[in-house]
Subunit: 358 residues, 2 copies
């Protein structure tokens, strides 16, 4: 017989494990065992409990109570220092997130999205959410206070691309060395006049020619390191700051860099593949052929949707970064302490780089 299956009301408050146990004629402890499967319960009893449960419309143990008792909620927080819209425009972040879900799979946990709404007096979910662990993705040091509290609570933290300090394991890549590799590739091809399009240097995302002021006020390590890598080979190279990692921004930046035919570089190092795609578009717009008139190097190694070229780029293991973070969390959650991981990127030579014309 099917009973009232509607939402709980005053008359039909809420079915608890105790109710089920009572109907089945067993104790609450036995009923619990019957559900969780751990512990010895005779088949007959288990069946009786399950029958009672379905008769009462019991939907299984309340996750809230379970998590209190067990001390685990099955939730891993992901902190992104942006709005959802902005964060997920970046394919690398998405891939990292994907790797992360893979990495924490053994935990059977889900990801809680914690984005910085910018509103400082918003109820800080990092403190109020029942988290088992936290992953910081590309976060500035301003989260230091928060991470401290989390650590005090015994909640493991891992940082991907961003250094919160405080003994938090970090998952990083060789931004500087990788970019240098790309620049060296250009040098070997014979390029001497090279420019770069960089990612933003701080959250406000000022765009335009790179100035010493901007550089001094930088808070984003990634951009800075990649810039340094390019300078390792071309110390005085011209740099233009993009407002985000997108084709549109790359296009705009490259228009500025390529505007004057007289000072036009023969190659551009873009700090992301999306930016590189924009650079290529700008070149095409100007009737320049890639790679003959302009060589372009990207960074990330994502497949840019709709890009017809095989981009020369620095392939970073974005999925692996996420997975590594997940692994670290699994380790930490099982009591061991985990070290960070430093990944290396590899140069993929596609068809967007060639010796300079003449």
């Amino acid at each position: 017989m099917k009973t009232d299956s509607s939402a709980p009301t005053a008359a039909n408050p809420r079915v608890t494990l105790a109710d089920v146990a009572a109907l089945a004629g067993v104790s609450a402890s036995t009923a619990s065992l019957a559900f969780s499967g751990s512990g010895p319960v005779s088949d007959a009893t288990k069946e009786r409990v399950l029958a009672a449960a379905s008769e009462l419309g019991y939907a299984g143990p309340d996750p809230r109570a379970r998590s209190l008792r067990r001390g685990r909620s099955g939730i891993v927080g992901v902190v992104l220092e942006e709005r959802v819209r902005a964060a997920f425009l970046d394919p690398v972040k998405i891939q990292t997130l994907d790797g992360l879900t893979e990495g924490i799979a053994p935990l059977g946990a889900a990801l809680l999205l914690l984005t910085d709404s910018g509103d400082p007096d918003a109820p800080v979910s990092l403190d109020t959410a029942p988290l088992d662990a936290v992953v910081l993705i590309g976060c500035s040091p301003k989260f230091h206070r928060q991470t401290e509290r989390l650590q005090r609570r015994g909640i493991p933290i891992v940082a991907i691309e961003g250094a919160p300090g405080g003994g938090v394991p970090e998952i990083t890549i060789d931004n500087r060395e990788a970019t240098r590799l790309g620049a060296e590739h250009l040098r070997e091809l014979g390029h001497t006049d090279v420019a770069t399009v960089t990612l933003p240097f701080e959250p406000t995302r000022v765009r335009g020619p790179l100035t010493p002021e901007i550089e001094a006020a930088a808070t984003v390590d990634t951009s800075l390191e990649r810039l340094r890598g390019a300078r390792d080979v071309y110390p005085g190279l011209r740099a233009h700051v993009a407002g985000a990692s997108s084709i549109e921004e790359g296009l705009e930046a490259a228009r500025a860099l390529l505007a004057d035919a007289a000072t036009r570089p023969t190659a551009i190092v873009a700090q992301s593949d999306l930016l590189a795609a924009g650079v290529i578009q700008a070149a095409e717009e100007l009737g320049l052929s890639v790679p003959d008139d302009l060589s372009v190097v990207g960074f990330d190694g994502i497949r840019v949707d709709g890009l017809q070229h095989d981009l020369t780029t620095l392939v970073q293991p974005s999925v692996a970064k996420g997975r590594a973070a997940g692994d670290a969390i699994v380790q930490m959650l099982s009591g061991e302490d985990a070290a960070g991981t430093a990944f290396t990127s590899t140069l993929h030579v596609g068809d967007t780089t060639a010796p300079p014309r003449r």
Copy 2:
């Protein structure tokens, strides 16, 4: 004096509100009031409690216990029937998610990402996560059993683009009517030979020419409705199914549709803007000019990064959809029951449609 601020150990198990209360010389109840701010507590006492807390390194009330007692966890689940990687490739979903975060802002809740890993015996987080409410985004009816259990638990559910049934409020758009609008626009321009590139009809994402079999086995209402809208104007139109919503897939599909110059349509209705962008690329590849040789209509009204055209498209309120879902949840959570919302899309005429040549 700063005490041990490291993670809890055997010696220093875990600081609870009771410990803080003891040190402050008050009862646990008073300490609780001091923290939550609700209820009358003298300033002196509050200060003493806070001092004790900081001395012990108490990081605030445990969210697990709090959520058990309060009956709220501050977490809203978002169910996407895909992997993270796939789901976030779709700009519309991201915008919707963004709107959703806005909509639930008054709750101070965060979003728990629940994606279908495909693995059937994965620990089903929908049942084990402490959720206050759930939003289904583009989910097939196969979640019916799950939603039933949630409802039994009294957890509000809202569905965006997808009909789980069972009295769940649905946020929808006029897929059929909107597409018809687009098709009518083409008819008014004088097009008689029109084809369409559709989104996948089922999770396995078979691609290729649309067959009656595929159509019969369809589980994705959105694709189906948009197809119907196109047929309302062009009953016998040729249709090609793409494997996903991406430029790449649109390119491939359009190559197939445009391959034979003799049977080449003069216009293509794409079921998404990304697909439309791919169609345009395919046209350019073949030396066809858009809109003179080929008119292209999209769907979504997103700004396709890197697309140089002003796409003629059906602008759907993707952010508003998310916000509406959020609003509905807020309502349901405060006891009222919410109805669904049906949004309408508007035709934006850009520069990718024109009368057919001759």
